[in-house]
Structures are given as C-alpha cells and as structure tokens.
Symmetry: D3
Subunit: 316 residues, 6 copies
C-alpha cells in the first residue's frame, strides 16, 4: 500500500514540522537551492515512486519565487513516478486577481490554477481562498477549509458579551455574515467612500456598533491600510473595543506599523504564512492551522471522509 510522504517547500517549515509531529510522519528530505543565476534547483532525496505525496507550500511573498518552486517540485514528483501528488497550499497567492475587473487584465488566480495542474498536481488542499469560486478554477479535487470557526472558538472562550461582527468592506460581507451566524451575533459593514470630489475617503459604518465589542474579520491583511482605518473608525463610532481577525498575515510594506498604532486591542492571525520575527507585535495572537491540516492529510491519505471537518457548513 501507498505510504504517506510529507514534503515541504521552503516557505512553511515551522508549520510543516508541526503537521509532521501531529501525524507522526517525518518530513521527507527535499533539496531546494537557488543557483547564483537565481534558477531554482530541486532534487527529491528520498524514494517517492508509487507513494502518496503531500507537499506543503504557501504561495506567499515572494510569490513568484515560491510558486515557481512549487511547480518545479511538482514536475520532479511527476517524473519520479509519485503515486499521487497532493498539494497543501495554506495561503493561495494571487487569489485577489480572480476576475477581470477592467478591460485587458489577466485572471492570474486562474492562470495559477492551470499552472499547478499542468505541473502535475492531483489534488489541492487550501485554506480561506479569497473567493470560494477559486475552487472551480480547478478540475482536480480541491479540499477547501475556512479559518473562521477557529476564530469563533477563540472568542467563545473569551465569553465577551455584546459583540458585533464587522466586515471591513462589502466584499467580505458574506463571509462576515457566516461568522456572525456561527457566533449568533449581529453584523455591520464598513463602506469606505469619498464623500465628495476632492475629499479624502471616509469609513462609513453601516449598522450599529455603539458600545459594542467589534470583531473585524478579513481573509488577508496585506498593507494593513483598510483594516486599521476600519478599526479606528469603529472606535470613533462608539465601539468599546475592536478585535481584528484575519487568516493570512501577508503584512507587506509598513503593515505592522499601521497595525501597531491602530486602536485594535488584539489581532488574531493564523500561521498559513510564517511570521517573520520582526513582524511580531505584542497584541498579535497566532492560531495554528497545523492540527486541522494534519487531520485533513491523514483522512485524505486513508480515504476517509473530510465531511466531519466541515461542521460549520450547516450554517452557511
């Protein structure tokens, strides 16, 4: 019978170690190097012929490097006769380029799906795609997990009263609603708009947040501008306290600085993207997806149902 073999690209070493420990399956060795001319070289250092291979790699920044590394690993796996090639992508980069918003743009999230398939993947496991529809960019099976039930558990433990879930923009309204429903709390939405020509953008809060604890929820914190402005606007509109939850800690540019100065009391993130030590703030809290990923991998390997891991679905 096929053995489970666990590999990690160069992005998620720490997460992969955790998953490996939970699974009781050691990480198999993979030689990855960048030649002086910047070309990526990969060599699989252990037999994969016929095995059930799982490769963990977020396509987080530097996204092009990390994506190409993943594609090259896939090519090596395919040509080495791996039995089944499963790709675990905790953070799926380019997810926001998922449609043509204006004329003559690419749909890079679809391009990436095509590249991953062309390179040889048999299945994708991922967390909090920017839009659910990206699942349909693939014709291979995609097992897609969301992190908000982990955030909900975290807040239930805190036993805070009088909470409101807040979407930082209309694009995240639907997912915020799912979180609100799971928590059985009301919701509000922020609409950032220019009140008139030649005026700066202002955060309008749609819905009631006064004297409440607001939980801002998003999939990605990138430059941190939107979410920190949202947090401050909520306090200004009378919210008592603001928490920020986000699955993917991209944190580019001076995001950390903005998060530090904003009025949010706590920022809850996951480890789909490893956090560089210089990006850690005291008010950050990291929830690991390792346990979830380990269960998923184990069940996929032994052909058990993943359905039970989707308990929040009844609420959708």
């Amino acid at each position: 019978m096929r053995k489970l073999k666990l590999f990690t690209g160069s992005v998620n070493n720490e997460l992969a170690e955790k998953i490996s420990m939970r699974l009781g399956v050691p990480l198999s060795p993979l030689e990855i190097k960048r030649f002086k001319d910047t070309e990526t070289y990969v060599k699989i250092k252990e037999k994969v012929r016929g095995e059930d291979v799982f490769i963990i790699q977020s396509t987080s920044p530097p996204v092009n490097e990390n994506l190409m590394e993943l594609l090259i690993i896939l090519d090596a796996m395919k040509r080495s006769s791996a039995g089944r090639i499963n790709v675990v992508i905790p953070y799926y980069g380019y997810g926001r380029q998922d449609r043509k918003a204006t004329a003559r743009e690419p749909i890079t999230a679809k391009l990436v799906a095509n590249l991953i398939t062309a390179a040889g993947a048999d299945r994708v496991v991922t967390v909090d795609l920017h839009t659910d529809q990206i699942q349909g960019f693939f014709d291979i099976p995609v097992d897609h997990f969301v992190a908000y039930p982990l955030f909900a558990d975290y807040f239930k433990d805190k036993k805070i009263k009088n909470i409101v879930a807040v979407a930082p923009d209309t694009g995240f309204a639907k997912k915020t609603r799912r979180f609100a429903k799971l928590m059985e709390i009301p919701m509000a939405i922020i609409d950032k708009r220019r009140p008139a020509h030649n005026r700066a953008e202002v955060c309008f809060v749609i819905g009631d947040v006064k004297n409440k604890t607001a939980i801002l929820i998003d999939d990605i914190i990138d430059t941190g501008g939107t979410i920190s402005a949202a947090a401050d606007a909520l306090i200004q509109k009378g919210a008592d306290k603001v928490y920020i939850c986000a699955t993917h800690a991209v944190l580019s540019g001076d995001a950390v600085k903005k998060l530090e100065v904003c009025k949010a009391k706590e920022i809850i993130l996951t480890d789909t993207i490893p956090l560089a030590s210089n990006k850690v703030l005291k008010k950050m809290k990291i929830i690991s997806v390792a346990s979830l990923m380990a269960q998923v991998i184990e069940r996929i390997h032994s052909n058990e149902s993943l359905g039970k891991l989707f308990y929040w679905e009844a609420l959708v």
Copy 2:
C-alpha cells in the same frame, strides 16, 4: 473576409430579432426540433464555413433543455467548419452553483463552462454572471457585461432625491456598493436571520433607510421570496418607497404573485430572459440589453476594442 452570421437558439427569439435589426444583419436560419423521444435535432440551414458566427442562447429554464440545445448547435457549427464560434449567453444558468458550499457537491457552473468549451465555443459573451469569478471558469475569452449602469441611467432620469441602494443579502453587498457608488448614494444591507431557535426568519436591515427611497438590487429574481420580503421589510423600517432592480427575470414558481403583492412600487428587469405574457405585471419595466449586445457583437466581429463599453469600470 469573414462574414458576421447571427443565429439564435430557441430561447431568445425576440431579443435576437432586436439585435439583428440594430446590426442590420438578418438572423440566419437554424432548424431546431425535438423528436418525439425528446432528443434535440439541429441543422444549420445556411453556409457557415469560415464565417464569424454568433449564437444567442440564454440557458434559462428549462435550463437542461436549453443548455443541451446550445451544445448541439456548437457541435454542428464546429463540424461545419465555422470560422469562429462566439456564444452570446445573456443569462448564464447554473451560475449559483459556483462553489462547493458543503461536502460532495458539484460545481455545476464550472461543469457548464467545461461543456461549452468542449462542444466548440471560441468565445463567450454574457451579462451579469452570478459571480464575476465565473469568467475564470473559462480558458477561452469571456466578455462580461453588467446591467447596473442601465438601471442607474433609468433612475437618473427619474431625478428622485434621498435614495439608498439596498442589497437583499450580504452576497450582493459588493455589487450593490458599485451601483451605490455610480449613483453617489448611500447603501444598506438586509440580513435575513432567525432571531432564536423555533422562530421564523426575520429581515434585519443594516444601515439607514428611514424616509428614503430604497432601490433593492439583485442579479436574479428566482422564486421572488427573498426580494419581496426585503421590499416589505424596508417599508416596515420606514422607507418611503421601494424599487426592485434585477437583471435576470427567472421568475419561477409563484414569483410573479409574490412580486405583485409585495410593497415595491416598481420592478425593473431586463430581457436577458424572455418574459412570458402571463408573467407580466403592470409595475414591471423591461430594459432591453439588445443595444448593448449589438454593439458588443459588432465590435467583436470587426476586432474593435470593447473597452469603451466598460465606462463604469473606473468606479469599481
């Protein structure tokens, strides 16, 4: 040089006639019949060899019949050596099955995209996909148009004051915001939820609608339940008047009845789906997409840019 040849499946005869007149290009004959055993038979009654063919067909109810008819037309076109096969799908059915919402579901909107491509389409033109991401379900070019600028023009002519755009649920919040921004009006959202176990669902209105004219906006009116409940809830929350805008008039079940009795003053629809005469209400207003589609077809045929037709994009 390739000639433009215009065909219609059996769904959009009236719309196709309008497009044909605007283009000054007659509809080419297509024999379509259902045999007694329900099989669809298609025969192209005019030369298409080498021509630039446009086929107009909404995959509206009965969706499986209409979709299969389209696929069979495509197969006939491909085998008859049509030069380029463009499919104009004013209403793209199955658009709401665009992701796995729970375990072991299909993603039928992607399946349909694959079927259309496999049958031989070279390009798709469509209006108001249920989610923009469906563009990325295709690897052939998709020219995607939205109808809300047509609605905006309609309301600008009315010169109503003190308006608010309202999303009937969180899933349509983002598109409602685009409409609101184009109209330079505020927005609100309806969140239909069960206040407690064993209690009926209630429409919560997030945002301020009191003494305002509310414009509810959605892509599809299917059974009409959500939108008519939303209209009534807005009146109850103090809105002066309610208008309903929706691109695709699916109107299944007793939708027309619900729309009739609901408190909306006017219902603005388009002709992406033909409206049966027994479904017409006095308070309905139909805006035709014929002019837009005719321009699109003409520009595609003569390889001109479609960019100018996307004037609303700057606002996205």
Copy 3:
C-alpha cells in the same frame, strides 16, 4: 482496498435495485432534486473518497434532463475524490445521431461521449449501442454488451420450428444476421420504399418468410411505426406468426397503441429503460438485464475478465 459503491440517477431505480440485490451491495444515497427554476441539484450523501463508484443512468427520455443529471453527478463524484468513476448507461440516448447524414448536422452521439468524458467518467458500461462504432467515440474503456443472446435464449426455450429472423430495415441487417447465426436460422430484410412518386411507402420483404415464424429484431422501438408496419407486412407476405424483439423500449408518441394493434403476437423488450405502467401491454414480455449488469459490475470491480460474458462473440 477500494469498496464498490453503487449509485443510481433518477431513471433506473427498479433496475438498480435488482442489480443491488444481486450484488449484495446496497444502493448508496444520492440527493437529486430539481429546483423551481428547473436547475438540477445533486449531493452525494455518503463518502466516496477513494472508492470504486458505479453510477447507473440511462439517457432515456427526457434525454436532456437525464443526461445533464448524469453529468452533474459525475462532476460531484470527481470533485469528491471518488477513486474510480464507472458509468453504467443501459440505454445510450442520441445514439442514432452518430454521423453527419446531411451537411451541417452535429454528431450528437460523439458530443455526448465528449461530455461524459469531460465531466469525469473513467469507464462506460452500456448495452446495445445503436452502432458498435460508438465505442470508438470514447477514449476511455467501454464495456459493451448486446441483448440478442438473451432473446435467443428466450426463443430456444420456446422450441419453435421453422423460424426466420427479420431485419426491419437494412441498417439492422448485420445485427439480425448475428442473431440468425446464433439461432441457426435463415434471415430476411425489409426494405421500406416508395414504389413510385406520389405513392405511399411500402414494405418490401427481401427473402423468404412464407409459412414461417418471423422474429423481427431491432435495438430501439421509438415511435413504433416501422416495426409495427413490418410486422403487418410479414403477415401479409404469408408469415405464420410474428414476434418483435427490441432492447430499448423508448416507446414515444403513440407507439404503444401501434404495437397493440399490429399483428405481432408477442413483443419482447428489456428493462434498460423502465416501462411506465400505462405503457404495458399484455403481449409484452420484459427480460431483465440486471443479472448481466450485476455480473459485469462485480467483475470490473474485482478486476476479473469480462471475456467470459461475451460467449456469443465466436459467432460474429
């Protein structure tokens, strides 16, 4: 090891039950519904991850509904990581559209093969394709069975003497010959033609049928016109008695009525298409393919040879 999981679409419930009983494998639950807007919704209600799945679905009338349902089930299976997806199509609809008979026609039987493959099938099992060549429309394995040995067994039990096999038209001459050879009886052919302009079509009988028991054999009875006229013509030409055998009981329009009044003594059909109760005639006899299908499924599942089930081949 992979488990055998048996599913049925909404067409062949009774046949599927029989197969399930013979296999000792229960039918796995599949939620199939039509929404009010006519869209088909499918949800697999049991784990299929890694399993050896068999889906039973004839693409009988209403063919477009039943075919789309099958394609959607396939998409759901593929995205749910079924181990191997076997499709059992007792009656393959659109089989008669298997070539371009005139200019600018589709080859819908090939289109359907492409759609089934694109949707995710790994193998097809089917009975009495309209032409054997449809096997070659697929690049996945097709296990194709014929029903005439079942008919032959039936007639051997009757121990009738002086029989002739009759093809209702030249298109079925080759298959009739196989049946005749297996039965070791002579054959005749009917050639329906217009004797002169402005004259009605007449059935010419090529070959000797006088004072014989004629067995008319065909793959499909659709509107019943050809076969019932053939039966009457045989009696007129002096045949003693006429039996009609046909694998697929499409029976559209007033076929049942025609069969009732025609001079055939008995009509032998199979259950590849379920017979509505209002279509049952006293002179009909249904031979079930359940036992054959159960054996086929069992052997495919356990990777045994199907060769032994093809005993009639030596005669081809």
Copy 4:
C-alpha cells in the same frame, strides 16, 4: 490572404497531378525519403508559413509506412507554421477496425484518428469511410464523400434494364440500399454461411436476382474472396450478368486473379488507391475522384459551401 498549397505524400502521385491540373495549382515540392535504416525523412521544400495547405495521402498498403509518412508530414507542417492543415485521405486505412468485435481488441480506426489529430491536422477530407461513424472519431471537421453516385451515373449512361443492386454481405446492406434508391431499383443481399457443421460456407442470396443484371457494390475489394464468390453465386442463382463496383481497390494477395476468373462482366473501381500496372484487368474500369476532390479543395479553400456537392443526401 492565404494561398492554397497542394502537397502529395508518396502514395497518390497520379491522382494528385490530376487534382493539381483541375485546380490550376501546381503541386508544391516535398522531399520524402526512407533512410537506409527505414526511417522516413520529410522536408518541405517551399514556404508554407501562413498558407492553406492540402496534403493528399491515402493510407493504403503498405499502410503503416504511408500513415507514418503522413504523420511526419503533418508534424513538419505544424512546426513550419502552416496556416491551416487540411488532409485529403482518399482511402482511410484501418477503417474496418472500427469497433471491438471481441474482447481485448484495439479500435485502430479511432487510434488513427487520434494520431492524425495529435500530429497537427485541422481538417480531414475523405471518401467512403468503411462506416460513416468514423467521422465521429474526429473532433476536427471531416468532409466525407461517397462514390456511389459516381457509380450510379456510370450505370445510368449504360441504360441497362431490369437491374438489382446486391450487397455482398449484411454489413453493406444499408449502403447498397442508398445506391438502389438512387438508381430506383430493387436490392438483394448475400448471406455467406455454413449450412451445417463440417460443411463449407455457402452464399445464400436473399432477394430476387433471377434474369436480372446484378450490380454488386462494396466499399473495399481486399483479397477479393467475398466479392468474387458473390458474383459467381449470383450467376448460379440465375442472374443474367454481374457488375462489381467498389471504391477502394486494395487488391491484396491474389485478389486480381480471383477477380479475373470470377463471372463478373465488369469491375468498376476508383483511383483513391493507385492501381499497379500488374493489377490491371481488361474488365476493370477506373472512375477518377479527381474532379470531385478538386472541387472540394477549391470550395474549402475559398470557404464556399460543400453542401451542393452532397446532392444525393436527399435520398438517404
């Protein structure tokens, strides 16, 4: 605009010359050689970049050599950026292996279709496929012509009375009927069977041939056994005279000898396969398909309809 460029592989030189003359388009030079190690080498000796290329090559014996030569020409054309690659295959070899007749056989006619497509063909033009369904083995357009109207013209000129069309076996009954209908004559069929165990096969004639002129019609004469036995059987059953018509003169083994000694008065063939001088008999008559092929090529090149060339279709 694209130019028409005409090429021939090494099979149909004479036919290609005739087509070239009728078209007024010279044959473009193609270097084709077999190296000493039997490898085929091809070099296109004239620019094809962007041109509308037609390649004439029957896959007649030696079929593997001729097919591989065609595939290599196609690869060269594709890599040389030919604008559109049309393959004219007057005789499509392996056409009789068009289904699995017994277990564990290939469907070589489909394999060949896949190989031709994989090598780069954009379209296929062919004559009298062994079964019409082979059209559906392709997903590229196939323009398929039949030769029997040419035979019909030939016989109409002879003004013979009291004719019967005869199918040499049941497999050709359907096509014989088309010929019979076009000629407005009756038909008969030959059924070659073993009357009892340990007895030699005998040709049973189904239908009436006595005192008539019989026209045996088939697509291929291969070893000539079936058709010459059929001719003799017809004379024995009282036919006055026998003509043999067949499109493809494969004539393998001692076919010519059998044809010579058989009782057929005349044998009418076409030039889809060139006839070696040592295979010519006095009683053979060759009808050229050059004119038909030239018209087809011209119309395809100039994107005109081929429909008018299919005048016999109304009769099907």
Copy 5:
C-alpha cells in the same frame, strides 16, 4: 494487488524471453498478425484488466511497422482496462530527428513521443536515447538507462593499459567523456571534415591516440560508415588497437561489411535490437541488457527506487 504481466511485440522476442526468465514471470500471449493488405491486427490473449502491464518493443527497423504495432498494442491495452501501461523501448527509433536542423523539418522524435502518449502509455523505460533531452519530449515518467557502464565493466575485466576513449564525432563528445571519466582514462575526438573544396572528407583526430588502445564509443551503428572510417583513422594516427562500442546495432545497408573490413579488433554491441544471424561477425561481442531491464521492471512493479541502478550518475 496488481499482477505484473509481461508482453512483447514482434521485435524483441529473444530479449523478452531472457527478461521473462530472470523475472520468473512468463510472457503473456499476444496475437499479432499482418493482414494481407498490410494492416496490423492485435489481440491480447489474456486478461489485463487492472494489471501492471509491461510491453517490450524496440522501434528498430522496419521502424514504421514496429512503431505502429506498438501503438496498436497500446490502444488495445487501454481499451481492455489495463491497470498501468509501461512501455519498455530498448531502442527508441527516430531519436536522431530530435530537432529542426534546417527549415521546415519535422521533429519526429517528439512526434513519436506524442503518439506513444496519445495511444495510452503511462510510462516509458528506455536505453541510451540518442540525446538525453528526449526524456523531456514526454510528460509521462521516463526511466532512462545508459549502456556505457556495461561497456566499462567489460573493459575493466580485460585489464588493458594505456587506453583512450574516442568520440566518433563532436556530437558524442559529452557521452564519451562520461565513459572516459568512469574508466579514468583520457579522451579524444574525431572531426570529419573536408580539408578544402573538391576534396574528400578526412577524419581529423583531436587529442592524443598514439601507441594507445582506442575505444570508440557511440550510441548507434547505422550504416557503419562513420565508425569504421574512424577506426581506420585511429590506426593510421598510430593507435595500437581499436575497439568499437555501440549500444544499438541498427546495421543497415552494408554496415556489416564495412565493420568486417575495418581495422577494429572487436565490436561490442548490446541486444536492444536483435541481430539477424547473417549480421553476426566473429569480432562482435553482444552484451545483454536483459538483466538490467529485468531489475528495472521488477522495481517499477513493486514501487522500489530505481536510484540504486544509476550508480554511474555521481560521475556525470
């Protein structure tokens, strides 16, 4: 579990027998015949459903016959539901047509790779491809072995001193170097060139061969011209003795004669191509690849690493 089933096409009977004996797995029966019209017919005479099939077939002369035979076997295997289809191609014909050397040529080695994949192969095992890059013409796994370590073992046993490895042309310089490195001996290269216009080509020897034992090494001996001229040139330049090593004994035209009269003392070949009895010279020595192939097949079947068989790689 899948069983290993071993088949051979009609080329490598003797080698296949040896492999079969070493594996302790009998050759499974395969009916292969050429019909009189030169068409190849294949029938698999034993169950392959679900099995792990290995097919041994060099595409040696007559290359088109042997390649088509292989493709037809593959099609039969695929349609018979073989579990995994492994192709062992000891000699990969058309390997020298691996690039466009001049304008408007095919890349036949790539075409062949596409044909093998299209016909249904899941994996290729091969020996001494003309260029290593042909591996990359496939997207299925290729396990590629080289024969020069076998030659090195042979010469190590001979314990000859003062040896030099010689490439017969610059194209084989790189592989000669690998051999030289493995043997720890120096190397030289032959550059055949025309010293001036209107002068015959002359073999220039680059490097020092005087008073040495020269080992000429090449992948293929085809017409034998280059290698026998090279052997003679080496003697002329003062080499003591010359050995010729080549993996693939194509030996076309009068190659054997040239080899016989040339000054090489011994010619070492392998059995990737069977040597006809009339091609055997006394000074030929055949080293079998059977043992290597048997190990490879066994390890592939049981999903063991092939890495250990690549011991020479460290030297590359």
Copy 6:
C-alpha cells in the same frame, strides 16, 4: 488585416526599443507593476483584439520573476482576444535543466515550455537554446536562431590568421564544430578533470592550440568560472591570444571579476540579456541581435519564409 503590435516585458527594454525602431512599429504600452506583497500586476493599455502580438521577454535573472511576468502577460493577452500571440524569448532561462541528470530531478526546461503553452502562447522565437532539442519540448512552432554566425562575421572582419575554435567543455563540442566549420578553422576541446583523487580539477586541452589565436565559444557565461579557467589554460598551453564568445551574458556572482582577471583579450557577447552598467568591462564587445529579431518578426507577421535567415544551415 491583423496589425503587428509589439510589447516588451520588463527585461529587454533597450533591445525592444531597437527592434521597434528597425521595424518602424512603436512599442505598445503595457502596465506592469509589483504590488507591495510582491504579486505582479499586468494591464494591457492598448487594444489587442484580433491583432498579431509580439511580446519580447528574456527569462533571465531574476528568472522566476521574469517568467511569471511573461506568463501573466500571456494570460492577459489570451483573455483580451489577441489574434495571435508570439513570444520572443531572446534568452530562454532554465535551459540547462533539460534532462534528468540524476534520479528524482525535474526537467525544468520542459516544465517552462508547458507553462508558456498553457498560458496561451501560439509561437516562440528564441536564440541559442542551451540544447537544440528544447525546440521539441514545444508542440507550438518554435523559430530558433543561433548567434555564432554573428560571431563569425565579427572575426572575419578582424582577418586574424591561424585561429582555432575551442569548446570549453565536451557538451559544447558539437556547436563549436559548427562555428569552426563556418570559419574554416580547426577546433580543440577542453576537458576539465581531476587528475587523481584529492587533486584539484585541471583543464586538459584536447587538440592543438600552440601559437594560435584561440576563440572560446559558449552559449552562456554564468558564474564565469569555467570559461575564464579555460582561457587561462589555453594561454598556458601556448595559445597566443584568447577571445571569448558567448551569446547570453548571465554573469552571476563574481563572473565579471573572473572575466576581468582572466587572460582573454576580448569578450564578445550579445544583448539577449541587458548588461547592467556595473557589469561592463572594457574588453567586452556587445553584438546586438536586434536586427535579426526585427527581420524575424517582420517575416513572421507577413507570413514570409524565415528560411533565408538560416543561411548557415547548409553547413550543419
């Protein structure tokens, strides 16, 4: 008729400008930016619908960035309905990973070919692929040019006597020979090897270089180690002067330093990769490929033969 539209990615701005000037076709605008999170964003700023698009982009360091940028441009072009998408890749990165040299490696040069094709390219134009066989990694047309005739012209103008062409290793022997033949000069080869265990590698010169002007020729100078050691070894073996020619100036690490201190008199490079100002040495000479590329683009656009640009082929 299609217009020629010229675009450049962010690599070859200067070369693209030169090509644009020679063609008299302005560079069309392309917005390319890297977001803060490192994602690449592309927007085509000019209509491409139906046009004949040429995109110039070397996949030079940073190779992953530049390759992904190219793929994203291709996706945008495809979805914007460009008429034909031609990619001009003056330097094809990852070319050296063109085979599995040891077990469980990728063939990244093939992966890259697949990615470029999957992203939407219709044709590739490139210069001096690391191995010619990479042409066969594509199934779309590849127009491949070599730079050594440009080097030959350069040296012919210098009118140096007594020259020898030297391959820096055996892998480049074949291409060095072509250069030598074009120049009508002899050749030598360098074989870098370890004379004994624990000894440093030494450059052995195979062939005669004493008192000659040596021209070292290679496709790529990467870290510069091999070529500068080769230059010094040639001087040590008595060469008078050494020139270095190489097409692609990758120049990674301290390559420039090594080149500066080595004993080569002059280093001739091309502009397939732009040379950063801090990498320019006095003894470097840059020959532009702009004129060649401009001719190629013009001829491809107007469907003229490229054959005449391949004048050196006769020598191969």
